[in-house]
């Protein structure tokens, strides 16, 4: 009872704070200085049509490097925590019902298309909404569909981790090239900027975002695979 009361008291306090924030909020009419800088300089300096992508990959590229590092750590810790789990032998396993005909045939048709959509999303990240993170999640969902069709299917951990670390190394390597051939770490102007809105534009942004996409896809797939393998291994 006292516990419930304390919780409600805490919530009332936080709620009052939020209400104050909400009532005192008045939307800006103009962009603030930072946003205005990005809006004015993205097209001439970076050449990316999608300003959010320009911020993520170039202006704040270092943050994105940290972000994929955090994801890598998460995938590694999930693998570590679950790998020590009880290993059952094959005979002890639950009898899995066979996945239906619809799922099997459908996944055979859909998996290549989903992979293609994922690649399309991260290659066009500088032109349209989307990019490496979304494309990577779509790639991982193709892996998920394969896992649903055949829960006992084994994926090569070696392949996943090789893909993951290669794309990470290429990401950092391209960033270092920027130090020597352009303005600084992760500067995108080591390739020509090109025409705004064409596929081969915005310097190395499509290249970097593709490798981020592969890396994120490999990390999410590794999380899914280690979670689904805990029992069946």
């Amino acid at each position: 009872m006292i516990k419930r009361f304390t919780v409600l008291l805490l919530l009332a306090g936080v709620g009052t704070l939020f209400a104050g924030l909400l009532l005192g909020y008045s939307p800006d009419g103009e962009l603030n200085a930072t946003a205005r800088y990005y809006a004015d300089h993205t097209a001439p300096d970076i050449g990316a049509a999608n300003i959010v992508t320009a911020i993520i990959v170039t202006y704040r590229g270092l943050d994105t490097l940290g972000e994929v590092t955090v994801l890598f750590l998460t995938a590694a810790i999930v693998g570590l925590v679950l790998a020590r789990g009880r290993r059952r032998t094959r005979t002890e396993q639950r009898e899995l019902p066979p996945s239906g005909e619809l799922l099997t045939t459908g996944s055979r048709l859909l998996v290549p298309l989903i992979l293609l959509l994922g690649v399309y999303v991260f290659v066009n990240g500088h032109l349209t909404p989307g990019g490496g993170f979304q494309g990577g999640a779509i790639l991982a969902s193709a892996i998920l569909l394969m896992l649903l069709t055949d829960p006992l299917r084994r994926f090569s951990h070696r392949l996943i981790s090789a893909l993951e670390s290669t794309s990470g190394l290429v990401f950092v390597g391209i960033g270092l090239l920027g130090v020597f051939f352009a303005g600084g770490f992760l500067d995108n102007r080591i390739l020509p900027i090109g025409n705004l809105g064409s596929l081969f534009s915005a310097g190395v942004i499509p290249v970097i975002y593709s490798f981020i996409g592969l890396k994120v896809g490999a990390e999410f797939s590794s999380m899914l695979v280690s979670l689904s393998e805990t029992e069946d291994s």
């Binding site: 419930r4 805490l10 909020y25 939307p27 097209a43 049509a49 994105t64």
Partner: protein
Amino acid sequence: MAHIALATGFILILIGLYGALTNRNILRMIVSFTVADTGVNLVIVAVGYLRGRTAPILDATLPAAEAAARIIDPVPQALVLTAIVIGVGITALMLAYAYKLHETKGSLDIADYRELKW
């Protein structure tokens, strides 16, 4: 628009907090955390919204010269994109630990874990 989204975000944070504090099942606590997470993201995006403006993507109808006058703030969007990706990482970690806890004690009730209680 911005006010509706802000209010929804705040209410979602409160609901998530309440759920995380009162539920006893660990999986339900994690579900509550993801609800609160969505609320926080909603609040941040709503703060960047400006009335009557369009998404920060340049194309034929939005030339670069007019960008500053017609787009909404792109910075909160970049932040929230990062936050969503990190959020799923945190959820995966919590779930892995929850599974591990269940494996050691065979229970997901938080009241069964008293080792650190004082």
